[in-house]
Subunit: 344 residues, 4 copies
Amino acid sequence: MKVAILGATGYTGSELVRLLHQHPGVELAFISSRGDAGSPYYRVHPQFYQAVGLALQPPALELIPDAVELIFCALPHGRSVEVVPALLDAGKQVIDLSADFRLRDPGLYKDWYGWTHSAPELLERAVYGLPEINREALPGAALVANPGCFPTGALLALAPLAAAGVVDWASVVIDAKTGVSGAGRTARPAFHFPECAESVKAYRIGDHQHTPEIEQILGELSGETVTLNFTPHLVPMIRGILSTVYLRLQGGGTPEQVAGLFGEFYEGDPFVRLLPAEQLPETRYVRGSNCCDLGWRFDRRSGRLVIVSAIDNLVKGAAGQAVQNMNLLLGYSEESGLAQVPLF
Amino acid sequence: MKVAILGATGYTGSELVRLLHQHPGVELAFISSRGDAGSPYYRVHPQFYQAVGLALQPPALELIPDAVELIFCALPHGRSVEVVPALLDAGKQVIDLSADFRLRDPGLYKDWYGWTHSAPELLERAVYGLPEINREALPGAALVANPGCFPTGALLALAPLAAAGVVDWASVVIDAKTGVSGAGRTARPAFHFPECAESVKAYRIGDHQHTPEIEQILGELSGETVTLNFTPHLVPMIRGILSTVYLRLQGGGTPEQVAGLFGEFYEGDPFVRLLPAEQLPETRYVRGSNCCDLGWRFDRRSGRLVIVSAIDNLVKGAAGQAVQNMNLLLGYSEESGLAQVPLF
Amino acid sequence: MKVAILGATGYTGSELVRLLHQHPGVELAFISSRGDAGSPYYRVHPQFYQAVGLALQPPALELIPDAVELIFCALPHGRSVEVVPALLDAGKQVIDLSADFRLRDPGLYKDWYGWTHSAPELLERAVYGLPEINREALPGAALVANPGCFPTGALLALAPLAAAGVVDWASVVIDAKTGVSGAGRTARPAFHFPECAESVKAYRIGDHQHTPEIEQILGELSGETVTLNFTPHLVPMIRGILSTVYLRLQGGGTPEQVAGLFGEFYEGDPFVRLLPAEQLPETRYVRGSNCCDLGWRFDRRSGRLVIVSAIDNLVKGAAGQAVQNMNLLLGYSEESGLAQVPLF
Amino acid sequence: MKVAILGATGYTGSELVRLLHQHPGVELAFISSRGDAGSPYYRVHPQFYQAVGLALQPPALELIPDAVELIFCALPHGRSVEVVPALLDAGKQVIDLSADFRLRDPGLYKDWYGWTHSAPELLERAVYGLPEINREALPGAALVANPGCFPTGALLALAPLAAAGVVDWASVVIDAKTGVSGAGRTARPAFHFPECAESVKAYRIGDHQHTPEIEQILGELSGETVTLNFTPHLVPMIRGILSTVYLRLQGGGTPEQVAGLFGEFYEGDPFVRLLPAEQLPETRYVRGSNCCDLGWRFDRRSGRLVIVSAIDNLVKGAAGQAVQNMNLLLGYSEESGLAQVPLF
């Protein structure tokens, strides 16, 4: 089974290369890059020297070998939508890692991303690729919208409660802390080492573009209208997202109820780990792996439930989830190529 | 004017040494340490080599020179209370940097710290040393309870609104991110470099001992009963606390109202900086200084106000605030010895 | 094939668990710990939750299942020597990750480690487990002395030139930079996050215990007496060793000669990567992998050759090399279980 | 006394602003920037909010107020040389922080910087501003060439031995480790946080442009021709340079001789700290200060002396040294404005 990556030089792309390289069932047959076409891949990502022999191709669809059946689009937001329709017309399956097919309502692209969606008819066909809530819809799907990194962490923390309809949505606050690789591979002043080491900041309070994605899925799960505050923070580490979710349960709730809902919802899920009661998630314990660790505490004094989730933003938050989706799409074991223990 | 430090080898103690060393009005005449008595100070803190010539003394009160009029207690929680009564009896002024005199209700020590307070009569006499809310009470005070690092960041973010009585307390969530020096100077597994670099975690959710301190002061300011959720997080940096405070205002509130309340409350305060609208606080911009930077955003969609404060936990969160209190106690200019620009 | 680890809770031990867990040919059947016996392994190393179900056993040899044929000793220096003789007597193969069997001359233990070797007769039987110079001696060996982390980086930089007899030994300087995990998992003041983040230092100049190990092997390779200066530095990162080796070649040497010697010496070695001329090693490019990256520059002005090597100190510098040795010992493919691409 | 800074927005420029702001004898009257002219300074460097009220001016010399007598040029290499002649003609004193006037031989600019020097006649007039070796030449100088960051650390480690003529120059190796701020404030891929955190690398081996500067000054001090190897390394920290210098003394040398030469050479120097025998320099102990810490070890086995120096690259390696030079130029106390204790 041959696959391709469009946009293979960003962090998401290189993480896909890492994971697909060690996947037993697929062969990476084509990788492209606008800026580095013609270069051996290891020139751009020296960690792959002598492991990955491919050279980067220009992003011209006609260069993709016919034998390629599935394509990962790891292009910037707004560029996937220009390419995906043609890929689908050519009969390829597509897993898109951008935001371009995640939202159902085309109007939200105008509001949150600032551009008009040019292929709104695809928004309904796209399957939102969070296997833990959408596993049945994935086998054979033509187009998978791979979730954003922040939505993955936030949704896995909230999905069981949303699905059970027990959340007091007006009470929900999501405070997320991300490593710097989440900002992508392009050097910019805010991510220059001396500007972000030894510091923490909040950014895009109340207007981060992952907000409607989170609200949409929680709305679908709960059948309610969900409007919430999501606030991201930048933390001086390379990888990882820790999401701290504050909420009140309808009727107050009990620890037993919460444990029961989480246990049931994630039963059999290979990558969601409900931590033992005495532990809380830390991003280091999921580094390099496709795991999402979950823990929570009832704060009886304030009547709040505090849920914490930890993911590696480049794996479960991007490339690992894409491979998990591919496995489900193609009928491989869900864990295929993703069994690595986290790297301390 | 001669001053002394009991417990001079911890991070708070060494930061006091740094600031007092460059204070034009006082002379540091005595420093003590239980574990390092007899050693020149620079052996323990080599940054002071050739700058601070003092040697560490045993923590025996009779060794403190008579000429010392003011004493900083930078002892661990629970040890100050054993020492302070005798210092006051000897006629010394005391600025205590532990939690031992911050809470008014002696019962809270049992609940949150696990020990019974042995000098409850002093709790009423102690002045809570957050100058921005308590400046008038400081001149001539005998005993100052220097605020905790987390309470300083949280209270400065909330005080103007609490004092105006406009906070919907049930809505308040405080999510704080601290550097590792907040955990003190004792090596412990959780703060071993390989265990906390490249990672973030939440800890002590719902039961951190700074919670009642925050609630007490906000209760006093607002005249209301305040119960809230405070959740600290550990971030891989040495210094700094960023506090993100989520709340709803009674009646909804407006940006103008908030700006007005903050501007009025902090008018003339030399260390609180209300950032221009286009900026948000980052801990790097206060590093090494006594500043508290404040910024906020109205999230109209969720009806929330999100306030962010940044302090250096060792300066405004501990030693700098203690020097600020000393200045007010002794009649120096409030900024004396504290005028350094933050060190990028 | 069943294997065991004695001392499984340190960083070397946990890295062995990670690598053996994903090794297709062996089963990890026993893990021990003095301090944490009785605890499930994931309690000590939460990254293994739901992946490794083993519990830690007391370090009593009689508890090791009979079916275990090969044992990794990841005990502290000086403790392996107390255990290994009995293991060998019981017919087990042993890969020892301590320094206890690396030096041929028992007297060096007294000089550099401060204790008298209690099993000097084993020093001659032990095979020094650096496969790139000792591959032939490994199959079937009873006792492998796994090299130190610093020696691995330094020796791989120098071995081809030593073996060719072209080094002017009086000119050799080895300046190594290590991440903090090299200091082990025990919390100590020097490795407390606030004490080693944002700083660099040299330590143990001229008396680091890895010096005689480096000299011994270079002496064996070259047939000359080798005395050199090795200076380690501590760098604020978790993993990685970069070794910068300065030397003069006898007769001056040429770039072509050096390239030729390196190419020949490492031909077919799966883990040594001779970088293309335009690149130099960086520790991030080998993180999590068993690779050793090598690069060099001729400094014509000073007549020096400068060689740089990069390894992950916990993998090629410890656990990965031990698994590589196991593969050779047992007849598996040398790369078995070690094929992961470095984790950016 | 009014002073100005040309190029005030880089790291060197902002550190000058920090130090001059707290200098008791001078007033910062003019700051310029090519890219940010018109902006209040705090917009570019928010740490100065409410402390520094100046706005950035275009870099037009006619805008500099007449009352300004001394000008700091913190422009990029190659741009100072275009500006300094006119400043001198206008009767200003200039402290230039670029490399443009550090080398005596104009030909070296072609060789190492790649451009032809347009004002070679000024190279003889410029005083090399390393006060510890050139203090007498500074008072009243018209043009000071402020040393490079690496040369400062390397020269202070070697100057006493060079001046005594006891160095075997063929043996000298300088291995330097720098924080990332040394690369300047411009965001570039190599200094993007995820690309340089958790990693170490060597760069520009044998061809770094600070090499001839080091060689020139050591040659002047010793009266010998000096050709040596200087190799810089990038370390994941913001500030600091640790230089490890390896050498042999002529005739072997003794510890007493070395201690004597260092003690004599630096007697009375306020910023050079010869550490007690049991300590070695660490960059954290000089952070934010103008100190250079020095320590050394005799490695008897290899016959080498290993000297270690630590500086803050932005202070003693740039802006602090410039202020120290200004103090000497203008007759202030050498420590004026520079007395801060290092910030742990």
